[in-house]
Amino acid sequence: MKNIWLYILVSAGVSYLIRATPLVLIRREITSRTLRSFLYYVPYVTLSVMTFPAILEATQSPLAGALALCTGAVLAWRGKSLLWVAASCCLVVFVAELALV
């Protein structure tokens, strides 16, 4: 049996280094136009990739997830706050699954 604390140490070390290295090393404004554009687009692309189709699989019924997606998209489009949008998605899933599951 291997030592669980060592596994924790290894995974914690790797996880932290991945995050800290760029923040510590990149101390100046990046001037390359392509690189700047790339970093500007990264957040939106990565969050989109993680949202769909995962939102359909996070719920017990994919339909409930789809309803949450539509609700969230419409509310966010109308400029509702983060808390509002997130809470509405939760509520929609809860109510939808009462009927669906």
Partner: protein, 239 residues
């Protein structure tokens, strides 16, 4: 000082839905940890030092399968590689003269969610905003894992599923408003949805850990967009 306090409270407010979502996700992670032979305290420490759902899940399954330390190190690197990109992005969002200590602290909790709200912060990121979000989100994450190990399956599925979806609602609140203002971003969001869906159906990527799909698509799509639609002047949204 006063400004920092305001930022902290604002971060705590925006971090509240994150904490709820984290609690639900961490709870299911706790169940996986228990199966891998972690005690409740060990699982909580793993969560508090890793702050990564996919990464931790990979660690738990590897340990359960009796893998070696190197395998765990490599898998953690692969599953969490996207945080490297996020930290690069954040380095441009912080004021250039942000002291080392703040950089080291912000780095501690670069997660999909904390990164998301930090990027959405108007103008340069005040680290105290991120700390506010961390102050509520991290306890939710640690406690969820702890309870997941201790009480297993008592959280009703219905509640877990409703809480879990809050994280995606948050992502929508972050990506939709810029998409409304910038048609390139709108196109990219829709393209990313489609590509992510296609990849989840494509057997080669569907079998890979979730972090791999995310990073491959992120790099490919963002790079293509950067070459085709250089974001001149839009850099300020980032800065």
């Amino acid at each position: 000082m006063k400004e920092n306090r305001g930022c902290f409270y604002r971060g705590a407010r925006d971090g509240t839905p994150i904490a709820l979502g984290y609690f639900a996700v961490a709870f299911t992670l706790g169940i996986a940890a228990k199966n891998a032979g972690f005690s409740a305290v060990q699982a909580m420490v793993e969560s508090l030092t890793n702050n990564a759902s996919a990464g931790e899940y990979a660690v738990f399954s590897l340990v359960a399968a009796g893998a070696g330390y190197w395998e765990v190190a490599v898998m953690t690197l692969v599953a969490n590689a996207r945080y490297l990109l996020m930290s690069c992005s954040l380095s441009q969002k912080l004021a250039l003269d942000t002291p080392l200590l703040h950089r080291l602290l912000v780095a501690y909790d670069v997660t999909d969610e904390i990164f998301g709200i930090s990027i959405a912060y108007p103008g340069r990121l005040n680290p105290w905003y991120t700390y506010g979000a961390m102050a509520v989100a991290i306890p939710g994450w640690g406690l969820g894992t702890l309870l997941g190990v201790m009480v297993g399956n008592v959280l009703p599925l219905r509640l877990a599923s409703a809480m879990g979806v809050g994280l995606y609602g948050m992502f929508l609140a972050i990506i939709v408003p810029p998409a409304k203002k910038d048609r390139v971003v709108l196109g990219l969001v829709l393209l990313s949805f489609a590509a992510s869906y296609a990849a989840s159906r494509w057997s080669l990527l569907a079998g890979a850990p979730p972090g791999v799909k995310t990073i491959v698509l992120t790099v490919a799509i963002s790079l293509g967009a950067a070459v085709l639609f250089p974001a001149d002047g839009k850099g300020e949204a980032q800065a």
